[in-house]
Amino acid sequence: MSNLNSYRTGPDETGHFGIFGGQFVAETLMPLILELDAAYEASKKDPEFAKELSGLLKHYVGRESPLYFAERLTEHYGGAKIYLKREDLNHTGAHKINNCMGQILLARRMGKTRIIAETGAGQHGVATATVAARFGLKCAIYMGETDIERQKPNVFRMKLLGAEVIPVKSGARTLKDAMNEALRDWVTNVADTFYIIGTVAGPHPYPQLVRDFQCIIGEETRRQMREAEGRLPDTLLACIGGGSNAMGLFHPFLDEESVEIIGVEAAGHGIDTDKHAASLKGGRPGVLHGNRTYLLQDDDGQILEAHSISAGLDYPGIGPEHSWLNDVGRVKYVNATDQEALDAFQLCCRLEGIIPALESSHALAHLEKIAPDLPKDHIIVVNLSGRGDKDIFTVASALGVDL
């Protein structure tokens, strides 16, 4: 990797980022994935596709999302200047809809009539149900029973939007199991069904196409930062479960040497315990859900259950491009515990009047570790990937409050 001219050229023709990525799926799905790849490549060459997508992102999603100077968080830490990229202000309350809008337009072009998706926190499920309603397509969302319990508001939202929410009872009944079940549905309903994967993982071309649809976050940030400060930011911060919000912010900056890029994994009760979701720090390369990537697994290659207070980060893997960026050293991956995220959640509520998602709170939690020691002209952008209204029950319970 020493003569790497760009960090933005992946994946290669076989869908790999270094050793990561690939197409590890059952034969039944291969023709569908190849068809998706062809449809995606065709859409990139079609100006009508870009025009339709950008119109919907503007008028329906409400983009662009603000890049907001967080004055009081900045004062609080007394060091670096902190900006928040307000993906929480998108329609449906998170970055997930950027990708869903792109994928549903592909689904329509491919003549698919039924949409399926997996969801952890429910944000991707809500975003998928939303675009399915908008375009009048049938929609089934797979969600682990554990997550259904801790994300009741989003479950009801999906139902209001006309989606069928299918409880997944296998495994730990969280995101990993929901993804297994969605893949099983897809294997069964190959003719009419389009699978909207919610993160930068899965078989090629998903990691690439989800990234591309999320890159609008980083592209807007570049432009907005130039307007606000006349230059590039110095540090980017984003939380990582599968890693779609992070990849969307990071990717347009990967070739800017001056920009330090930090991804924050969920450390749960701590990465020295068996209750965390930090695949890069606590895992090793393996193959799951269609791609090779860092995975939490035991000595026999059996996948371990992840843990995070945030359902959206509760996944034992990570997108393959993040695994590659980790190994080549371009992005620094750190982590934050449940408690650190909870503290950051409350601080953001009180100081900025913004209730952040528990996922995004992991990125906010890293501010305390770096912002105070940085000079006042050092600019940090935190991706505020979603709003935390969905999390108030979880937070109340963690704080011992009875709602």
């Binding site: 690939g22 197409q23 034969e27 039944t28 099983r184 069964t188």
Partner: protein
């Protein structure tokens, strides 16, 4: 490559004029001892080829029955190493019946491909089916396995169209496993007429024997498939027998009883 037990078995069955009965059971389900008893009893119950399932936490192409079997096997302490030991133990008393290891890639990748191939050879495995390794990923395991003398058995499905079929067949050997339905294991019973049409299409592209699986549960269904295919694969129905009671000794008997019934169905069909 030199002839494997699988090649020999299909050649013998062709001479005999009947289809192969291919059985699938999960290693370590309900426990390692009982699973060994089941595997040891299968040839006498009529199995011509035995697929031994390698348990995995996330079997994304399997239906509930095989998912549960995998979880029971993991709960009983089954690992890849212990699965190989089980097969080695079986080989001490049976040097003829072909054994195919069937599972997902991650346990093998984690074990290390070179080490796995060496140990699988020593255990007496003849072929392997790795569900999440399509031909796009041949360099991972398929090519090294072929070089080491194993049959790498590939799945073809209703979605495998004529354009794709040559790619699927390219490095496969032993037999072709035709998945009769688009779905997970054990989902719906295949329609013999649809299967016959598909097999006609596939036979134009290969001389490999074709075994048909997914959804075959009874001797009568297996007989229908035996008329048109070179083999019938039964997995879910056998695996379900394990779960029916709590006594593991009875599980062995139930699995073998059903195997005998299905075997009789297949053997009732004579081919010219």
């Amino acid at each position: 490559m030199s002839e494997t037990r699988i090649d020999r078995r299909f050649r013998a069955l062709k001479a005999e004029g009947r289809a192969a009965f291919v059985t699938y059971v999960m290693a370590g389900d309900p426990d390692l001892e009982s699973a060994l008893e089941i595997v040891k009893g299968l040839p006498a119950a009529g199995a011509d080829i035995i697929e031994v399932g390698l348990p995995f936490t996330d079997p994304m192409a399997d239906g509930p029955a095989i998912q549960q079997a995998g979880l029971r096997a993991l709960a009983s302490g089954t690992t890849l190493r212990k699965t190989l030991d089980l097969i080695a133990e079986f080989r001490k008393t049976d040097d003829e019946t072909p054994i195919v290891l069937m599972g997902y890639y991650n346990p093998i990748y984690s074990y290390g491909v070179d080490r796995f191939l060496k140990d699988a050879r020593a255990a007496g495995i003849d072929g392997m089916i790795v569900v999440d390794l399509p031909s796009e990923e041949d360099s991972e395991l398929c090519l090294p396995a072929r070089a080491a003398g194993f049959n790498f058995i590939r799945l073809a499905t209703p979605t495998t169209n004529d354009r794709r079929l040559p790619k699927v067949l390219a490095n496969s050997s032993g037999f072709l496993y035709y998945v009769s339905i688009a779905g997970t294991t054990g989902a719906a019973a295949p329609k013999p007429a649809d299967v016959a049409t598909a097999l006609q299409r596939i036979r134009k592209a290969t001389d490999l024997p074709i075994a048909v699986g997914f959804g075959i549960r009874t001797g009568a269904q297996a007989a229908e498939i035996a008329k048109i295919a070179d083999g019938a694969v039964v997995g879910t129905a056998l695996v379900e027998q394990v779960a029916l009671g709590s006594d593991n000794k009875d599980a062995v008997k139930r699995v073998l009883d059903l195997a005998r019934e299905i075997s009789a169905g297949i053997r009732s069909v004579k081919k010219t």
